[in-house]
Subunit: 212 residues, 2 copies
C-alpha cells in the first residue's frame, strides 16, 4: 500500500493512525499541500479534488479518510476499530462524524484561506473563527464522552478505535491554534491515553518524513 | 421509531430517505430549528448539540445522519444501501463523505449565521460563500461520477443507496440557493433518477408535516 499524505493534514493523520493500529506497512508519499503542489501533475491526476489522503491499495485509489478507515477495518479485521453491535457501531461513528463533519471542515486550510483571502478577514478574526468551531464541537463532544456509558479509557471502551482516530488529530490541531482545552477534561484524558500508544506516536505529524 | 426532524435540514432529509428506502414507518417529531427551539427543553436534553436529526429506536437515541443510515442498513439489511465488496463500499462512502464533510458543513444554518452575524458579512458575501463551496464540491463530485466506472443510473450502480441519500438533499439545497448546476450534468441526472422514486418523494422537505 501507498499513502499520499501531508504531515500536517488531520485527514491523513487519521489514516496513518488506522494503518499503525492495524500494524500495516506502507510507502509514504508526501504531497506538499502547503506549497500548493496538490494542484499540479502528477497529484492532480490522482486526486481531482487535490486533497490528501489517498490510499493506493494495489492500484485501487481510495479517498476520504473515514471511508479509508472503514475499508481498512473491513479488509484487515484485527484489531477491530469498530465494536460489534449496530448500536455501539453507530455511537462510535457518530462521535467520529461529530469531529469530521462539524469541526474539521470549518477549519481546514482552504477554508481559512477563503476567510483571509476572498473575504479579507484579519488574522484575529480567522483565529476567532477557528477557536469558535473547535470549542462548539468540543463542548458537545465533551458532554457526550463525559456522560455516555460507552466511554471508557478511550472514546468507546478500553481499546482505541474509530472515534479516537478522529479525536487525536483534532486535538493536535486545537493545540496548534492554542485553543483553551481546560473545559474538556475527558477529551484531554482520552487524547493522553492514545498518545501513550506506539501506533498513535508513529502516526504523529512530527514523525512523518515530510515534517518541517 | 421516532425521528426528530426539521423539514429543511439536509441531515434529517438523508435519514428520511433511508427510512423510506427501507420501507420503515416512524413517528415524525418536528423540531423548529428556524425558531431556535432546538436550544430549549425538551429537545436540548435529547440533543446536547441541538442538531437534528435524532433517531429514537426503542429508547436508543442515535445521532449523526450518516451513522444513523449505517445503523439502519445494519439492522434492516434489505434493500442494501451499501454494496457488498469493501472497495465498492469505500467508493460509496467516499462519495457521501465528499458531500457530508466538504460541502454541507460549510453551508449549514449556524455557519451562515456566524458569517452575517459575528463577522458582519453582507447577504451577497454569504451567498457567494455558499455557492463557492457547493460549486467546489460539486466540481469534484461531477468529475468522479462522470469518470468512474462504478456510476450507473444512480451514484453507484442501478439501485439507489448511501451516496444518493447524501446527494439529493445537497442538490435541493443548491437549488434553493440558486446555484448554477449546468456544469454538473451527471449530478443533475442522478438527482432526477432519485426524484422519480416514491421513497425520495416521501422524504422531500415539502412533504413533511412541518413544511412551511
Amino acid at each position: 500500500m501507498k499513502l499520499y499524505s501531508f504531515f500536517r493534514s488531520s485527514a491523513a493523520y487519521r489514516v496513518r493512525i488506522a494503518l499503525a493500529l492495524k500494524g500495516l506497512t506502507y510507502e509514504y508519499v508526501p504531497v506538499q499541500i502547503a506549497r500548493g503542489l496538490q494542484f499540479e501533475a502528477p497529484y492532480r491526476d490522482i486526486s481531482p479534488q487535490a486533497l490528501v489522503p489517498i490510499l493506493d491499495d494495489d492500484g485501487e485509489l481510495l479517498q476520504q479518510s473515514l471511508a479509508i478507515v472503514e475499508y481498512l477495518d473491513e479488509t484487515h479485521p484485527e484489531p477491530p476499530l469498530l465494536p460489534a453491535s449496530p448500536i455501539e457501531r453507530s455511537r462510535v461513528r457518530s462521535l467520529a462524524l461529530l469531529i469530521a463533519c462539524e469541526i474539521h471542515p470549518l477549519n481546514n486550510l482552504r477554508v481559512l484561506k477563503y476567510l483571509t483571502g476572498t473575504l479579507g478577514l484579519s488574522e484575529e478574526q480567522k483565529l476567532a473563527w477557528y477557536r469558535h468551531w473547535v470549542t462548539t464541537g468540543f463542548t458537545a463532544l465533551e458532554r457526550r464522552l463525559a456522560t455516555e456509558s460507552g466511554t471508557g479509557r478511550f472514546c468507546h471502551g478500553d481499546a482505541p478505535g474509530y472515534a479516537d482516530i478522529a479525536l487525536v488529530p483534532q486535538v493536535a490541531n486545537a493545540r496548534r491554534f492554542e485553543v483553551d482545552l481546560s473545559a474538556f477534561p475527558t477529551i484531554v484524558r482520552i487524547d493522553a491515553a492514545c498518545s501513550a500508544l506506539p501506533a498513535f506516536q508513529q502516526a504523529a505529524p512530527a514523525r512523518q518524513p515530510d515534517a518541517e
